[in-house]
Symmetry: C2
């Protein structure tokens, strides 16, 4: 069994990288990120601001810090992102009732429609991207990914 020369086409071109789950997750994530841009990027909506809109819609009046925590976004970075969403007319800041340091976030009507339209288009795009997945495979995929997410280590902060 000699001359096992492998043509460096497709797989083995990556070397040890091909055996690492982290690398494949990174590339797959990038595929969805590009698709996100094709789906709603024309409206200037990006992944992170969209995620923030979704979290606020799910918990109206949520505090800025809690919203960031749900998404793994640091407080310092939330400030700029919320500023952007407020200036775009998607989010309103309100004073938190019980804590005068805190800020409660709510969606504006514009923010709600932006979220709804983007969600519809994103769902279409994801369905297309996963067109050759059976429902079972798709559930399996999400289930496996969720178990990885659960392994997240809390940041030192």
């Amino acid at each position: 069994m000699q001359d096992a020369e492998v043509e460096p086409g497709r797989h083995d071109a990556l070397g040890v990288l091909d055996g690492l789950v982290g690398y494949h997750l990174r590339r797959a994530s990038s595929v969805f990120a590009s698709d996100f841009g094709r789906a709603v990027g024309g409206d200037g909506l990006r992944q992170v601001p969209f995620a923030i809109l979704s979290v606020i819609a799910a918990s109206p009046g949520i505090r800025q810090g809690a919203a960031g925590e749900a998404l793994g976004i640091k407080r310092a970075n939330m400030v700029v992102l919320i500023n952007e969403l407020v200036e775009a007319g998607h989010v309103d800041r309100r004073a938190a009732e019980d804590d005068r340091r805190a800020i409660a976030l709510v969606l504006t009507p514009k923010g709600r429609t932006t979220l709804e339209n983007a969600t519809a288009r994103l769902t279409e795009h994801e369905d297309e991207l996963l067109a050759d997945f059976t429902a079972g495979e798709r559930d399996m995929l999400i289930g496996l990914i969720r178990r990885i997410e659960a392994r997240e280590q809390p940041p030192a902060d």
Copy 2:
């Protein structure tokens, strides 16, 4: 069946986001990225340079452009990354034999040991991160992710 009030703990805190595969891939990818830092970040090695080392090791003498293409890295960005790896003593540039415009990349002995050590530690870390996955589940995961990677759209460039 009333009073189906859902406590906003864990899942529903994300809203529509929770139903999008792209979001979960992004977070899972981030979990592995953080773990990469814990595994080999102390040595100053990052995900992208590590990936480049792996590709060069798999195809010694590969051209700079081909290495970037295998990893989805644009030519302009490869320049800086290769500069960094050369200055770190991990990579040597050689003239391509048949094309005087091109550059052939090879690993130095130091680059090889860096790659080997990092790979060993990364494999350990991935095994730990995926400790509660059966071998079948792990194969299933990689298989599903690869099918997503295959959906990548070529950049306009």
